[in-house]
């Protein structure tokens, strides 16, 4: 990629636990990416819309309330409909083990649970785009 990787970090739904989302946003920025932190209490539509408008490469979603199954796949679907099928969607929060394969099947590239080092997330994104560039 000849420009900085652009990342949108957002919290869908009504969950207000934003410590993780904020730390990840700042970590990715420090890793050299351009990060837009969209904030919280957002509908899937608002997030997909902003991702398209901001022309981002990555959407990072965070949810700790247990609503991830209702929200994450919907955002992937909306992105695909809006022509953003190449956008890498990753997620994190309190996500039970058994939901992870379902989310991956729905198009989430990776779920990063509690305790994930920031570097691991940054590396995952960088590697994905480095491979695409080859």
């Amino acid at each position: 990629m000849d420009r900085k990787i652009r990342v949108l970090v957002a919290k869908p739904g009504l969950d207000g636990h934003d410590r993780g989302a904020k730390v990840v946003a700042r970590g990715l920025r420090d890793a050299g990416m351009e990060v837009i932190y969209l904030g919280l209490r957002l509908t899937p539509e608002q997030i997909a819309e902003s991702a398209m408008q901001e022309d981002v490469d990555v959407v990072g979603l965070s949810c700790l309330s247990g609503a991830h199954m209702a929200l994450f796949p919907k955002i992937v679907k909306l992105l695909q409909e809006k022509g953003g099928k190449d956008i890498l969607v990753i997620g994190g929060g309190i996500i039970p083990e058994k939901d992870i394969p379902k989310l991956e099947e729905a198009g989430l590239a990776r779920i990063f649970g509690p305790g994930t080092p920031l570097e691991e997330i940054a590396k995952f994104i960088e590697t994905t785009f480095a491979e695409e560039g080859e």
């Binding site: 739904g13 009504l14 969950d15 207000g16 636990h17 934003d18 410590r19 904020k22 730390v23 946003a25 700042r26 970590g27 920025r29 932190y37 969209l38 904030g39 919280l40 209490r41 509908t43 309330s65 247990g66 609503a67 991830h68 199954m69 209702a70 929200l71 309190i94 039970p96 083990e97 649970g113 509690p114 305790g115 080092p117 920031l118 570097e119």
Partner: protein, 540 residues
């Protein structure tokens, strides 16, 4: 013979020791000279000003802390069952978790509620749900804490109405509404309206309770969520008390006399795993608050000066990796709360970094408190760690650090201004980022996460809330809206809006509104019409 090294040259495990990331530097040993900065009478006796050692002279010898487990999920029937179960297990007080739509003023059928119904707590849309929640539990005889903030006037009104239906008198009700909106702008994020309108609703509740519900805690000023968001122990202490001071001032500005409401102010803090720092924090908190209430606000009733508080062990420290280790963390944190002198305690379940807690995990959590209470002996004497050179020195350090923050916030014009400037949010965001960096680098050890990692993980059974809950709740809401007197609802909602625009206390009209079975979403919309909505500035 090997030459004996001088003690100061002896090597130690680390160059520097501290209570944590951005914490307080810790010396090798503490001696009487370290207590020289502490003024005469600052330590004192339990039950005596400034209450450093405990608010009661008898501590837990008189009465143990209340074991109060925060619970609520799914529909009211499911939560009602869990409450009855906890009651049978020996729990002595209730603590209700409401699902996020109730907390943020949406009905279960609102588009933003999709996927959230019954997840983080119980779904309450109307008085009908509140009545069912307490079926078979006499509200006149129990004490109930409700974690509710932006919609606190609505939920408190529902609780009063449900109790009255059971035949209970509101003046006899025991319990707490969190009603602490300032920390919502800093950390927990369940605000609806802007700060000015919110402060008015907070103080409406406080003055209503002062006049009508003498045994009810009208506010629970909370540091817990700021700590969860990344604050250090000293920041948690400082920012909570700064918020507390803002509420006291707002009540005084309404013309209330300080001793008429301050005895019903209560607090809520976190307990982390650094046991001794937490004990010192609780002791410092009691001392600072007593001094502030007496010296700054001129309180004369000792009850206005007593910092009474609930503690919850810290959720953030729970790891998804090797979840059984969390039982040990919770035990240390609960011990800190008990050594610190809390009035009530919630212990977290070991599976909470994975999902909502299962019944088995909830039981272990409660048993942890019971073992501490009945087997450890730590509750048999008041403030058993008081007088330790380290504890007294550390108590003083936390007080000094917290006071430095409070003075900084004073200079900005108080907590509300400091929040509007983003100062408190930024301080916490920095601490939280530094912490994550320290964990990533290995400087801060988290057992099972960045040290002593195992390949094979034990994955416990967890609780799942199905989509069925949402369908049931939405259907129930639809039926309610069909069956109630909708003309009456429209009229009362109009009145809610006009009272909100006036300076009349909101509580009486709230009680009328919930009794007409107006819903949380409808009443919140009436308030939104009067106050507008708040949108947060993003502070990383």
């Amino acid at each position: 013979m090997a030459e004996r090294k001088k003690t100061e040259e002896m090597t130690e495990r680390k160059k520097e020791f501290s209570t944590g990331v951005d914490g307080i530097s810790v010396n090798r040993v503490y001696i009487p000279a370290d207590l020289e900065g502490i003024k005469e009478g600052e330590i004192g006796l339990p039950g005596e000003y400034p209450f450093t050692r405990h608010i009661m002279p008898t501590g837990y010898r008189g009465r143990l802390w209340t074991m109060r487990q925060y619970a609520g999920f799914g529909t009211v029937e499911e939560t009602n069952e869990r409450f009855k179960y906890l009651y049978k297990q020996g729990q002595t007080g209730f603590s209700v978790a409401f699902h996020l739509p109730t907390q943020e003023g949406y009905d279960s059928d609102h588009p933003l509620a999709a996927g959230e119904v019954g997840k983080c707590g119980v779904a309450i849309d109307s008085l009908q749900d509140m009545e069912r929640l307490w079926e078979g539990i006499p509200l006149a005889e129990v004490s109930t804490s409700m974690t509710i903030n932006a919609t606190a006037p609505i939920i408190l009104a529902m609780y009063i109405a449900a109790a009255e239906k059971q035949g209970a008198d509101k003046s006899k009700l025991n319990g707490t509404v969190q009603n602490d909106i300032l920390k919502e702008y800093i950390a927990r994020n369940t605000y609806i309206f802007g700060p000015a309108a919110s402060m008015r609703l907070v103080t409406d509740i406080c003055s209503y309770c002062a006049q009508n519900m003498p045994q009810w805690n009208s506010i629970s000023i909370s540091g817990y969520h700021m700590r969860e968001a990344g604050a250090t122990a000293a920041q948690e202490a400082a920012f909570t008390l700064a918020n507390g001071m803002a509420y006291v001032q707002a009540m005084i500005d309404r013309g209330m006399e300080v001793d008429s409401f301050a005895p019903r102010f209560s607090f809520f803090f976190a307990a982390y795993t650094n046991l001794l720092e937490e004990v010192a924090k609780f002791r410092a908190l009691r001392r600072i608050w007593a001094k502030i209430m007496k010296e700054r606000f001129g309180a004369t009733n000792p009850r206005s000066m007593m910092l009474r508080y609930h503690v919850q062990t810290d959720g953030f420290t729970l790891t998804a990796q090797q979840p059984l280790n969390n039982i040990v963390r919770v035990t240390l944190q609960a011990l800190a709360a008990v050594f610190g002198g809390c009035q009530s305690l919630h212990t977290n379940s070991f599976d909470e970094a994975l999902a909502l807690p299962s019944e088995e995990a909830v039981q272990v959590a409660l048993r942890t408190q019971q073992v501490i209470a009945d087997e450890s002996g730590v509750a048999d004497t008041v403030d058993p760690l008081g007088g330790s050179y380290y504890i007294e020195w550390l108590t003083n350090q936390i007080e000094n650090r917290a006071m430095a923050y409070i003075e900084e916030i004073d200079k900005m014009g108080g907590a509300l201004k400091a929040i509007e400037k983003g100062y408190i949010q930024r301080e916490i965001a920095n601490s939280s980022y530094n912490y994550q960096r320290a964990v990533d680098s290995g400087e801060q050890v988290v057992v099972g996460v960045n040290k002593f990692v195992t390949e094979k993980e034990h994955v416990p059974e967890t609780l799942e809330i199905g989509v069925e809950t949402e369908r049931k709740q939405v259907e129930r809401l639809r039926r309610l809206k069909e069956e109630r007197d909708n003309k009456k609802v429209i009229q009362v909602l109009d009145r809610v809006c006009s009272v909100a625009k006036s300076d009349e206390n909101i509580m009486p009209v709230m009680i009328d509104a919930v009794k007409a079975y107006a819903t949380v979403g409808e009443i919140s919309d009436a308030l939104r019409e009067a106050f507008g909505e708040y949108r947060e500035p993003s502070i990383l």
